[in-house]
Amino acid sequence: MNRGGADDIASRHRRRAARLLLIALAALLLGQAGYLQAKALLAQVLLEHAWQRSDAGRTATRPWPWADTRPVARLQVAALDVDLIVLAGDSGRTLAFGPAWNEASALPGHAGASIVSGHRDTHFAFLQRLRPGDGLEIERAGLRLRYRVRATRVVDARTTRLATGGADDERLLLVTCYPFDAWAAGGPLRYVVEAERR
């Protein structure tokens, strides 16, 4: 009985240690998830300020002193209550803070395709709710540019590239990862929303 009690205590200690370990692991993982989401949310607040200071994208203003990017436009979808500041340069570093415009593509308001990418699990999660015919607005340098969604499609990023120029019409391509409910990052598929200037 005594022996059994000691075994019981030892095994309970082991179990408690295992539980603490699991809780620590959970805190780490949830913290990581929370950090990514919080960064995405907080950055938009700072960007909003930078956007005001930059005179709606007319001057290059860095949102925080060590930023390697600047706000270039504002993307709004009234029906879905979406209001995002778009940054320059779609590197992984920039995309953590907000949707980003590919600098090799046309500037919104110019002929050609303007390519804006965003994370499917934060800023651009709303893309799955856009349907052909929906309206979008881009604000840049005092201009309000109105677009209408023409089509949505899924492409394989390994075999496809996006065209950036050539045409005279103004198109806006919103790009995010696909499928929307995938667990991990790094998949090859992309969801492309193609909108045309009205």
Binding site: A18, A26, G165, A184
Partner: protein, 690 residues
């Protein structure tokens, strides 16, 4: 218990479910630990970035057929110390509408770009050099009237912008660009670089307008195009995703070194070589390569044939040009204590293998210090941080501290190079010390002028040794910084080459330079570089000069200081060979010198008109002159309006790869909740046991 855990795991990824199912059947703590570790490992080993493969152009309807393609072919004809290069790009319109292609073309630093030929079927249209604005309006007028036209202009230092307009559906047009280039010779080895990619340049926040894009869609009237140009000037250069040219690049070279060679090789690409006496025909082993790293060709003379001097001449019209190469003897000298300031670029553009190479290079430099030396380490990105306030003696514990500090550096943020340069140049070394600044960077800076000025004005007794890092370092910046800093530059192209490149650098740091050189020529000559550089171990003196038209050359003399003692050597200026292209190479150096004078704040109008005159006379592209080729007959029918183009016209050259657009936050969330659930279940089970 088992069932409940499984239901908890049902909505997670299959791999995680498997782990849980397995561990629910186990009971000891060790196994829990193992499972927890597995969970953690599975979570953190997930790829953070997507594959970068990206090969096709996409059409509007989502199909994958290529709409346009751009194939690039490079022919290098290397003759002794100069190379004539032709870059042929075939633009093919596979779409159903008229197209215009525009792309950036990186060329080697110092390239004298002089030729543009447009080949349409059997017809050849030869381009002319015009002043930049004149070339632009000529091009715009041709585009608007439906004629085929092409424009080549300087974008920034060694980056050129090429536009081809009015290509009919189903038509192929070839553009051929020709330039001359000097062969590099150092450490007993000749080399030539063809850049296949370029590092996007970082533009600091408060700066003036960058070089503007030139091409507007054909339908826009010129006035509107001008407005568009103004608006886009704040854009930083195209993002890393914008590849130059297309994935198909073919390189072929012929090499007549004029010497018996010990070997011909490339550290960057596999070669297929055919030898015929002293003539080599070189091609890539994989005929077509991806444009992801620069092409470097090296050839080494047999030891007995290593040249110590060469003089080549070209007579062109009423002018005469000469290229002089002289390899002075160097001698090892007693070690002199030094103050070594190591500066490392930790900006975002250095992320990945570049920062790994840079850290490895710095670590070698730190190990190379001896206790009599002094040192400091400075890192910069958006901010500049020095390890010590001022240089300290290289005591073992401080060196160990520095090595640890360097090993912990990572790349993030902007490239604010000027404060770091100022900090490095600010101090002076105690008497008796050589002050050497080793500056490790990829040179991804757009506004280099301010940096050049800082180096020139604050150098003092310090010497600057830039170390270029990455697959496509900014060669122009490295060469210029070394020239103005009176040091020498080395380039590290991959991690395996760090040791070798750093050994080359140490050889230069450890031996005294041949300094205060000046040249006595028996004839009137305009020589570049104007101020002769200090020469370090293994470096030749390479001069290019314009001589009086009928100069009969005799003997010259070069004098200087070597390890504190006077040094001199006689020069034989007797002709050793004829070479082509020397006139253009000389003019290119003169244009660079005039650009430097402009940067130093010289008389804008006078210098600029002199620059334009030289460029026009020698038919060269410069900051103020461009090449334009225009077909005489209109091809696009006036009744094929450009609105039609707008409907189908999907893509000329210039397409981009996709960004990585997801994080794994959802996965972290799920795994975190799962771990919590397991912890909770354990507690529950504990309760039932009790």
């Amino acid at each position: 218990m088992r069932k409940r855990v499984r239901s908890g795991g049902r909505e997670s990824a299959p791999a995680a479910t498997a782990v849980i199912r397995e561990h629910s059947a186990m009971s000891t703590m060790l196994r829990f630990l193992f499972a927890a570790a597995l969970l953690g490992a599975a979570a953190f080993a997930l790829p953070a970035t997507a594959d970068s493969g990206s090969l096709e152009v996409q059409r509007g309807d989502g199909s994958h057929a290529a709409v346009a393609s751009l194939d690039t072919k490079v022919d290098l004809a290397i003759n002794g110390l100069v190379a004539e290069v032709r870059v042929t790009q075939r633009f093919r319109n596979d779409g159903e509408a008229w197209q215009q292609g525009e792309y950036l073309l990186p060329l080697p630093e110092g390239a004298a770009v002089h030729a543009l030929t447009l080949r349409i079927g059997q017809r050849l249209i030869v381009g002319e050099v015009r002043e930049k604005e004149a070339a632009r309006s000529e091009f715009a007028a041709a585009v608007a009237s439906g004629r085929k036209a092409s424009l080549v202009e300087a974008h920034s230092a060694n980056l050129f912008r090429t536009v081809i307009a009015n290509v009919a559906p189903g038509e192929s047009v070839e553009i051929e660009i020709g330039y001359w280039q000097q062969v590099d010779f150092r450490d007993g080895e000749f080399s030539l670089v063809f850049p296949l990619t370029y590092t996007p340049r970082y533009a600091p926040a408060q700066t003036d307008a960058l070089p503007e894009p030139v091409s507007e869609p054909a339908s826009e009237p010129v006035s509107e195009s001008k407005a568009a140009v103004v608006e886009t000037t704040t854009a930083i250069t195209p993002a890393a995703g914008a590849r130059i040219g297309s994935p198909t690049i073919v390189i072929a070279a012929t090499l007549d070194a004029g010497l018996p060679l010990a070997r011909v090789e490339s550290a960057t690409h596999a070669l297929a070589i055919r030898q015929n006496g002293q003539h080599y025909a070189i091609a890539l082993a994989d005929t077509v390569v991806a444009a992801d790293r620069d092409f470097v060709l090296r050839w080494t003379p047999q030891p007995s044939a290593t040249p110590t001097a060469a003089l080549l001449r070209e007579r062109s019209g009423d002018e005469q040009f000469a290229l002089l190469m002289l390899l002075p003897p160097t001698q090892p000298a007693g070690a002199m204590p030094r103050e070594l300031v190591l500066v490392i670029d930790t900006s975002g553009s250095m992320e990945g293998s570049s920062i790994t190479q840079a850290r490895a290079a710095l670590d070698l430099a730190l190990q190379h210090l001896t206790p009599v030396d002094r040192f400091n380490v400075i890192q910069f990105n958006s901010r500049t941080t020095a390890l010590f306030d001022h240089a300290v003696p290289a005591a073992a514990k401080d060196v160990a501290l520095a090595r640890e500090w360097v090993a912990g550096l990572h790349a993030d943020g902007g490239t604010e190079m000027l404060p770091a340069l100022n900090l490095a140049l600010r101090d002076a070394a105690p008497t008796g010390y050589l002050r050497q600044i080793v500056f490790v960077t990829d040179g991804a800076v757009e506004q280099a002028d301010a940096l050049y000025t800082a180096i020139e004005s604050q150098l003092g007794a310090s010497r600057l040794f830039p170390v270029g890092i990455g697959s496509a370092p900014n060669a122009q910046f490295l060469r210029k910084a070394a020239e103005l800093g009176r040091g020498s530059s080395v380039v590290i192209r991959d991690l395996n080459a760090v040791g070798e490149s750093m050994q080359q650098l140490f050889a230069k740091l450890d031996r005294p330079a041949l300094r205060d050189l000046h040249l006595d020529l028996p004839v009137n000559a305009e020589v570049y570089p104007q101020r002769l550089p200090d020469l370090y171990h293994g470096e030749p003196l390479l001069l290019i000069a314009r001589l009086a038209p009928n100069a009969v050359v005799g003997r010259g003399r070069i004098e200087g200081q070597l390890a504190g003692a006077p040094w001199s050597q006689a020069l034989s200026l007797d002709l050793q060979g004829q070479a082509q292209g020397l006139g253009r190479l000389w003019a290119q150096r003169k244009i660079e010198a005039l650009d430097d004078a402009l940067r130093r704040g010289g008389d804008e109008t006078a210098l600029r008109s002199e620059l334009v005159a030289v460029a026009l006379r020698h038919h060269l592209v410069s900051r103020h002159t461009s090449l334009v080729a225009v077909d005489r007959t209109p091809q696009r029918p006036a009744d094929a309006p450009l609105q039609t183009v707008a409907v189908d016209n999907e893509a000329p050259a210039g397409s981009v790869a996709f960004a990585q657009t997801a994080t794994s936050s959802r996965l972290w969330l799920a795994l975190g909740l799962l771990a919590l659930l397991v912890a909770f279940l354990l507690r529950e089970r504990e309760g039932t046991l009790r």
